[in-house]
């Protein structure tokens, strides 16, 4: 089923959702930076811009309370967080690289133990995806198996059209409900032409070859020269749509306070630091190796997917110019070399 919606009607749709009390999260400019944030008006949306951080915050906030505690003499009372208070949300303008990361996160938060903080919000969120028409030098979604028109992870998928408006494809019951409840805003498609899709860099590396090398080379001299510049700032993890590591910390006094789940990053030296003082990843290259290994091997071993969607955010933001796509390309080259040597 395909439908057309004009930009005007799309904004009207979002405004109506906002007026119904739904949280509408979309790219918005905040102090000069574009971020996914709740909108007060659809007119504030800058849907043509890729936000600096990913959309995962809609289900996995940077920082969230997971309980509160109160002390009274020797007694302690804990207050659970009521998940029914999470708002119905519509996440808007999610490009394929962000949308594809959502099922990846689902796997982590739902295997074995269920993280209700993530899953409840996820259940209450409808994702409006957007085909991508603008790539920059950092984008490499096509190298990790996606395309700028990949609807994976979206409930409703929009393709921008020449002359304005979008072609809409429903991808799930949530998407169908959204269209069905707002039928009057959609029209029959009629000879509209999609805008040309983005053309991200492609063919930099072969994912299978990279994985094959990682499988065999946890110890390899190559690691000593990969990402030696990394200063361990953690920015790459914080902007990544697929990174999901977190910390659990108490904030408050001895008398009362809250326990929170905060984003964390394997690039931080403290991440694996034992209380005894021992640190199994005691040097930055070991930490960076974990980043690559987790994304392109461990996660794949466990869940059969890659923990990177090629959004390029970490490349754009790294203060010392580390380019993960270049590193994967280098690894891909090593593998070629190894093969040639074996054959000769």
């Amino acid at each position: 089923m395909q439908n057309y919606i004009s930009q005007q009607n799309f904004n009207a749709l979002l405004d109506s959702l906002i007026s119904q009390g739904k949280r509408v999260v979309a790219p918005r400019t905040n102090a000069g930076t574009v971020l996914y944030e709740p909108l007060a008006n659809a007119a504030d949306m800058v849907i043509d811009q890729l936000p600096r951080r990913s959309g995962k915050e809609a289900f996995f906030p940077l920082c969230e309370d997971i309980m509160t505690y109160q002390k009274e003499g020797q007694k302690i009372e804990l207050q659970d967080i009521d998940p029914t208070r999470f708002l119905e949300t519509v996440l808007v303008g999610v490009r394929p690289c962000d949308a594809a990361a959502i099922p990846v996160l689902d796997a982590v938060f739902s295997w074995d133990y269920k993280d209700e903080f993530f899953l409840e919000r996820r259940k209450k969120t409808t994702i409006i995806g957007l085909a991508c028409t603008q790539a920059d030098d950092a984008c490499f979604c096509t190298a990790v198996g996606l395309t700028p028109a990949d609807p994976k992870g979206a409930d409703l998928f929009l393709t921008p059209l020449e002359g304005g408006g979008y072609a809409c494809e429903t991808q799930s019951e949530k998407g169908e409900a959204l269209v069905a409840n707002n039928k009057e805003l959609f029209a029959e498609p009629n000879g509209y032409k999609p805008l040309p899709l983005a053309e991200p860099q492609t063919g930099k590396f072969d994912l299978k070859k990279v994985k094959a090398w990682l499988d065999e080379h946890f110890e390899d001299p190559a690691w000593d020269s990969i990402a030696t510049r990394c200063v361990g700032c953690g920015a790459c993890a914080f902007v990544c749509p697929a990174c999901h590591c977190f910390d659990i910390v108490d904030e408050g006094t001895e008398k009362q306070g809250k326990r929170r789940k905060n984003w964390d990053a394997c690039g931080f030296w403290k991440f694996t630091h034992h209380a005894s003082g021992h640190n199994p990843r005691d040097q930055q290259p070991k930490r960076y190796r974990n980043r690559i290994m987790h994304k392109f091997k461990y996660y794949d071993d466990k869940f059969g997917q890659t923990l990177c969607t090629g959004c390029g955010r970490c490349i754009r933001l790294c203060p010392v110019g580390i380019d993960i796509a270049d590193i994967l390309q280098d690894i891909d080259k090593i593998e070629v070399k190894v093969k040639v040597e074996e054959n000769s």
Binding site: I76, I248, H274
Partner: protein
């Protein structure tokens, strides 16, 4: 296994500190009783599993459950105060409240140990993760063959569970070999002097129909495994526990991995064969 009825997987059970026991100047045991009657009755675990212990306001810390599953009505944890959370836990007095999440992780395959001889090898503060199993086995004594315990610490003062060491020494059905590092012995020391791997080699337990269970600091493990190998223990006859830094204990926070193995889910108990297949990241 006790199904945690909390929907919020991060919400701990509340427990009252029933008893505080100082094992060494900086190692302490807390005996804990769950405050909720149903939890008290239903909480069950297997030897080898761990938990997250809360000192509210400071955070959570990960240790094994150090008491035996055969001893009902309470659990014990044992820790050295080395950080913010453990220092707060150390300030708790009988009657105080703390939090416990768990039990988490896998456990020793005790059923597979039935009918076997057992050799426990522990160093320093790493006796608690074996002590749960030692008491578990001693409480089911008939089911096992010979039981040997080789335990050492840096000095006499650093030995934990001193009363229990005495008890094991006095029992006729356990062979306890205790040792301290050279220089760690006082005038009243009646045990061995030497590092654990050396003393284990001298004790020379037979590998025949025997399982070895080893816990200790990484360097002790490193030197103990070759000794066991020399004594003809196969890598599948040797179990150990890994202790990476953890936060969630639930396979979510991404912190505890050694290669693609999650210590909190796939461990903490591993065979030597499994450990040898892992990258050196612990």
């Amino acid at each position: 296994m006790c199904e945690n009825t909390n929907k919020n997987i991060y919400l701990p059970y509340l427990a009252t500190v029933e008893e505080v026991i100082d094992e060494t100047p900086d190692v302490r045991t807390l005996r804990l009783v769950f405050q909720d009657e149903q939890v008290r009755e239903n909480f069950s675990f297997r030897a080898g599993q761990f938990a997250e212990y809360s000192a509210f306001g400071a955070g959570e810390s990960t240790f094994c459950i150090a008491s035996s599953p055969t001893r009902k009505g309470y659990i014990e944890c044992c820790f050295r105060s080395v950080g913010r959370v453990t220092e707060e836990l150390r300030r708790l007095e009988p009657g105080d409240t703390m939090g416990v999440r768990g039990p988490y992780g896998n456990s020793y395959p005790i059923e597979e140990l039935f009918g076997k001889n057992l050799v426990f090898v522990a160093g320093g503060i790493a006796l608690p993760p074996l002590r749960t199993l030692i008491w578990n086995c001693l409480d089911l004594r008939d089911k096992f063959g010979e039981i040997t315990i080789v335990y050492g610490a840096r000095t006499q003062a650093d030995l934990v569970y001193k009363r229990e060491l005495q008890e094991w020494e006095q029992r006729g059905d356990v062979r306890l070999v205790k040792t301290v590092d050279p220089g760690g012995n006082g005038p009243d020391w009646d045990g061995q002097v030497g590092f654990v791997p050396t003393i284990l080699a001298e004790t020379a337990p037979s590998a025949d129909n025997t399982i070895a269970l080893v816990c200790g600091p990484p360097v002790m493990i490193k030197f103990t495994l070759p000794v066991l190998e020399k004594l003809c223990f196969g890598d599948d006859q040797v179990y150990t526990t890994l202790e990476n830094r953890m936060k969630c204990g639930l396979g979510k926070c991404g912190r505890c991995n050694v290669g693609n193995v999650y210590v909190c889910k796939d461990g903490p108990v591993f065979t030597a064969a499994q450990v040898k297949a892992m990258p050196m990241e612990f």
